[in-house]
Symmetry: C2
């Protein structure tokens, strides 16, 4: 049974059934030409839109439908978190292949509605259309912030310290684990069709038994946007600049540096790389630092903190439930670099500056990382 | 030169260059994690999202890129018009095939920005991503309305008169004209490849010389949303219910009837069918009434008016620049019918109830009309 067996109205009703009762500020909800909402008093509004496109941002072969719905909202919630805004409402626009099973449709909506409920984000409207190609899920989110408390990227000053929440690298490792499992499953299926040889060794067992594998996969599939941390940072006026790591730590540092007109020096030894991800990358001969900073999908917050507000950050850290790790400093120089201890001394390399062409932009994290690594400048020993 | 030759940042800058200076209420614009806006005082907010998908809502073979951008915003402005809301801001989310020429990208944005400027709608943010399939343009719009002035679909009462703005059917005819031209051009090209026979007669000449053809095509390509009419209706409290005709008059009457729990009786003889469209349909043996009410893309407003507010509607009509035509009445009975004069007397038929399955839903106007006609009940003579 696919969505083609249902009318648009029936599909809309399946969405409505998965939503909580309308809040009092929602004056006109789903079902009219547009939604009508009462604005929140004494607040400014924070708006963002983000799209997930099948084949670019997710692969239905190994991303279950509830995770597609979850991630589509998570990327938007993460944008609000980076602004220090409290989420309020969302609009959900779906372009769906006719062959999409109705169970997958329901699961996408469940994943979306579940995360929305946990962050008190009401779905006030949306759009359903067919797609002759990929599944596209486009989400607009609106949140609120007190005046002059919105966190931007452009307030960092030389001397400000840089912190990152949680850990990095897990989502990137999780994506690769899923890709590897999918390849092995395909290879197994192909072999099964011929002769039933044993392929229970090597990568397959490594993927299924390594500690932290399931955590990495979960971080990729169902990222937890740092909404509470963002609002705590904003209310405490603890940050001079903030960005989320949807495009990776390397990209985030460049964005803050460019917007704030500062340089940034990261310290590789301090990076809170997820232990499972680190082990997994090392086991494959990959550099955990480069893999972790170039990959996206972490949805942690990168925060610049001025010397006078360090105590406020400490207060935020005490009230929050996430570690905040000191990873670098903003500098007068406009260079964005990373210091690493190496054989023979400390090196300072340019942080990869991100993808350059739209051909590779907005691709999966791995595409971005590969593209980014073409632009790494050579290490400068000193 | 295609978009693949540019970075995402360069493409964003090309969009920004096509936008007017930021209004004072835009506190943080394009370039941060989200936009921050100051709400308008003493207003409620009206939000809508709509997507145009290549191959479903438009065909790049005969819809020029500026018209794609124009239409993507027009459908959203029309939703606000139907609510009586004044547009304020938009978010533009584009999923783009890598092979899209950069000139087409610029033209899409020009078409969008041009219409936005004429309706004082500021683009505060958006999203760019690649698409492995069709071009998808997803637009979120936010407008404002005074409290208790938003026009909904559910306020019509038995005895209320129904009016429609402007004319209907032109966009449906325009789409067919464009499709026919495209088919003929393809056939010509195929013939040219073999022998150069003359094919300058028949449909081709009819399509190019009939009066009103260019007007119909323009109505399809660059619909003018009835924003001014909608806000006038709202301010004058002239309407008991309102909807836009994006999905056609037949669908609009059903939507108002269902939401308001009334019946509706349309009078076929009163329908303001565009003369060029009527002539074109008749020349092809098609019923102009059925073609005009089943097709979408007109973006006129369908308005129910109570007996005590007829004079307010007259005032709106005087101040507006569009004719408002009386086309029917709301009834106690829940039937939605259309009266027609026929040989042997007056007939009253059920109004086609619209497409039933998502397979055909949200397709091109013609798909909808064809699907809808499967559900037409037989005419009831009386």
């Amino acid at each position: 049974v696919t969505i083609a067996d249902f009318t648009e109205r029936e599909l809309v009703m399946r969405i409505e059934r998965r939503l909580p009762p309308a809040p009092p500020w929602l004056l006109v909800g789903i079902g009219d030409d547009a939604a009508v909402v009462e604005p929140e008093r004494n607040r400014v509004e924070v708006l963002s839109v983000d799209a997930l496109v099948e084949g670019i941002h997710f692969d239905r072969a190994f991303v279950p439908p509830d995770a597609i719905g979850h991630r589509a909202l998570a990327v938007n919630l993460s944008d609000l978190a980076a602004m220090g805004a409290a989420p309020r409402l969302a609009l959900l626009s779906l372009a769906l292949p006719s062959a999409l099973p109705i169970a997958d449709f329901d699961a996408i909506v469940d994943g979306f509605a579940g995360l929305a409920g946990r962050h008190r984000t009401h779905v006030v409207g949306g759009n359903l259309t067919r797609s002759p190609g990929p599944l596209v899920i486009d989400v607009t989110i609106v949140g609120t912030s007190k005046r002059r408390q919105a966190l931007t990227r452009d307030g960092a000053r030389p001397g400000d310290e840089l912190f990152v929440s949680g850990t990095i690298g897990a989502a990137a490792a999780g994506l690769r684990m899923l890709e590897m499992r999918a390849r092995l499953a395909t290879a197994d299926a192909a072999q099964d069709a011929g002769n039933r040889a044993h392929r229970e060794t090597g990568d397959a067992s490594a993927a299924s038994v390594s500690p932290g594998v399931e955590r990495c996969i979960e971080r990729y599939l169902r990222p937890q946007p740092r909404v509470r941390l963002g609002t705590l940072l904003a209310r405490n006026r603890a940050a001079s600049a903030c960005i989320d790591l949807s495009d990776g730590l390397a990209d985030g540092t460049h964005q803050i540096a460019q917007a704030s007109r500062v340089g940034i020096q990261l310290d590789a030894q301090k990076l809170p790389i997820d232990p499972g991800a680190r082990a997994w990358f090392e086991a494959r001969g990959l550099d955990p630092v480069i893999e972790s900073i170039c990959a996206g999908d972490d949805y942690e917050l990168l925060v610049a903190v001025g010397p006078r507000t360090r105590s406020r950050l400490a207060a935020v850290a005490r009230h929050g439930d996430l570690p905040l790790t000191h990873i670098g400093v903003c500098t007068e120089s406009r260079a964005v670099t990373i210091r690493r201890e190496a054989v023979g001394g400390v090196t300072e390399e340019a942080v990869p500056s991100g993808y350059s062409h739209f051909r590779a932009a907005e691709g999966s994290s791995l595409d971005e990382a590969r593209s980014a690594s073409e632009h790494v400048e050579g290490p400068r020993s000193r």
